[in-house]
Amino acid sequence: MTKDIIHKVILLADDDLDDAEMFADVLAEIDSTVELYHVPDGFAVFEWLKNPANPVPDIIFLDINMPQITGWQCLSSLKADELTKDIPVLIYSTSSHHKDKQTAIDLGATAFITKPSDYKILEDFLTAIVNELHNKDIASIIRRLSNSLHLE
């Protein structure tokens, strides 16, 4: 692998181009060395992961309302596959219903994040995440973060 260990990789699956653009924008502001890859739907996630030329992401941000297969189905498949089940998956959705939060946890997601409507909140969140991307304990860190930032 020619991947530079220092580089952090985030995979974002979202069919909304505006949201992806905002995400990339904020991320670039925080740390431009982070590699952000964006795919538009669930199938593309697997295609991307299967491609040996692509680096293994440190974290996957997964939207729910996507065409073809839903985020839930994608999540289940990711957690069922040996190669991908250890990658932390963050459900990143417009929904704020606590039932969706429960479903995310049940299916093995690391956390459930409601897409923030305030730029600053997103900024703070991504800053914290990026710093801990190579931390093994990232799951609990994310959970604490999402709690305190009222993103759940």
Partner: protein, 492 residues
């Protein structure tokens, strides 16, 4: 008379009649038979008498013949037929006719006497050939002998005849008696038959009349039943029509409900997307570009931000309202004290900021959806704090009472016990005439400075109350306070 009794009586009468008629008929036959027998005897008697007469006549004739010869010496008298043959014939006739034992004995005696007489006569006739016979003593002896014989036979015959006559007389009377009896019986049979016939006819006539009455009654009843049936059919039809109407309305209602539910859900959910983006871009612009706006521009920008914020609240409330249902929620045992705790927790900051005092009696355990009950408590308590009097510390007292619904409050079932949980506050209250209006969506009685509410909270609370099989009502005295009463069924 009961019909079963009637049947029994008629059978008794019929049986008696048959028995009587049969007996009378038997009697009649018997009498006739007896009369016949008696008549036969009488006839036989006359035959016997006739025979006896013949015997006597024959004997007499022979004797006369002998006398004639004796007197005239004319041989012509001697050439008469033999005496024996006709006599034997008559004797055998008599033999066959006579069955009476006395009479039979008499007959035997008669036969003896006849034999004796005939012997005598025969020996006399032999002596007649002698010319000197007529001058001798023998002739006179013979004559006397013959006379005695004849007298004896005559006597016997007479005796027999008398016997027969007596018997005949008796028998004749008997026969007459039997005839009379038979006639009486015959008449009795006729009369009795006529009576039975008349009775039977009367009886049958009554029965026929009764039957006819029953048939008429049945027909009347039948036509009444037919009428009632028709009415029932009509009622059925209208019921059926009403039913279909109801079904149609029901179906429509269900459709509307589903449509409304999806509409609310979809609009509030889907429309949050662009709303969120608006907010997001507003926040970016505020962060990076706001200082590039003119003062007026910044003012307008603020207005946009506020309006968007309000829109956000509206959507949250709408979403909450549409999601407040029971369909995909688990109903479990919920401790309301716990619910109150969580409520106070969520409203911690607000309570602290306003110095609100919240007291409660111990609350019961109920069956319900926890998060909805929390929402209800939160809404009511925060409302109570919100609508406080300006310079008075808000106090909220929560009390419980177990009631059975005699008051017939709309929405509560009779015969079930409910907990009535009262949230009493000392706030500004509201006019009693608005007691129902406050529960309508988007109805706000006053605009408050710190009101975050969009006026949907109480509507949601009421919906939650109804989800749990209860109701939410409010009463108030302006400037004194309000009481919000939450009724929830007792959980056994």
């Amino acid at each position: 008379m009961e019909s079963s009794k009637r049947i029994i009586y008629s059978r008794i009468i019929f049986t008696t009649g048959i028995v009587l008629l049969t007996s009378l008929s038997v009697l009649f036959i018997y009498e006739t038979y007896q009369e016949n027998t008696a008549s036969n005897v009488v006839y036989r008697t006359s035959l016997i008498r006739q025979s006896l007469e013949e015997v006597f006549a024959a004997l007499n004739e022979r004797e006369s013949a002998l006398r004639g010869f004796a007197l005239t010496a004319d041989r012509a008298f001697l050439t008469r037929d033999s005496l024996v043959h006709p006599l034997n014939k008559q004797i055998s006739i008599l033999d066959s006719l006579i069955n009476d034992s006395i009479q039979q004995q008499n007959l035997l005696q008669l036969k003896e006497k006849l034999d004796y007489c005939i012997n005598r006569l025969n020996s006399q006739s032999l002596r007649l050939k002698d010319k000197n016979y007529f001058n001798s003593n023998q002739f006179y002896t013979d004559l006397k002998d013959a006379s005695v014989c004849m007298d004896s036979v005559e006597a016997m015959i007479r005796r027999m005849q008398d016997l027969e006559e007596n018997s005949s007389r008796g028998r004749t009377l008997e026969a007459q008696a039997h005839t009379v009896m038979a006639t009486i019986i015959g008449v009795a049979v006729s009369i009795f038959s006529m009576i039975v016939f008349i009775l039977a006819f009367y009886f049958i006539d009554q029965e026929l009349k009764r039957s006819q009455n029953y048939i008429n009654e049945t027909q009347t009843l039948n036509s009444k039943i037919a009428e009632i049936n028709k009415e029932l059919e009509e009622a059925n039809r209208s019921l059926h029509d009403l039913n279909s109407e109801l079904e149609d309305k029901n179906f429509q209602l269900e459709k509307y409900a589903t449509e409304l539910s999806s509409f609310t859900h979809i609009t509030s959910h889907d429309m949050q997307e662009p709303l969120r983006k608006i907010e997001f871009y507003i926040s970016i612009v505020e962060d990076r570009e706001k200082e590039n706006l003119t003062e007026e521009g910044q003012k307008f920008f603020e207005k946009i931000k506020q309006s968007v914020g309000r829109m956000r609240q509206l959507f949250i409330s709408m979403l909450d309202f549409s999601l407040t249902n029971t369909v995909d929620n688990n109903i479990e045992d919920v401790d309301l004290n716990n619910v109150l705790q969580q409520t106070l927790n969520s409203l911690k900051v607000y309570i602290k900021d306003t110095n609100a005092i919240i007291e409660s009696e111990p609350l019961p355990q109920v069956k319900g959806i926890k998060y909805q009950l929390i929402q209800l408590f939160e809404n009511i308590v925060s409302n109570a704090i919100k609508f406080r009097k300006n310079d008075v510390i808000p106090e909220i007292h929560i009390s419980v009472e177990l009631v059975s619904t005699r008051q017939n409050l709309r929405g509560l079932k009779n015969g079930i016990k409910y907990y009535r949980i009262d949230f009493r506050d000392n706030g500004i209250g509201f006019e009693p005439k608005y007691a129902e209006r406050i529960f309508e969506i988007f109805q706000r009685l006053i605009a408050k400075q710190d009101s975050y509410g969009v006026g949907i909270g109480l509507a949601i609370c009421r919906k939650i109350a109804e989800n749990h099989g209860g109701i939410l009502v409010a009463s108030s005295q302006p400037n004194v306070g309000s009481v919000f009463s939450f009724y929830i069924p007792e959980s056994k």
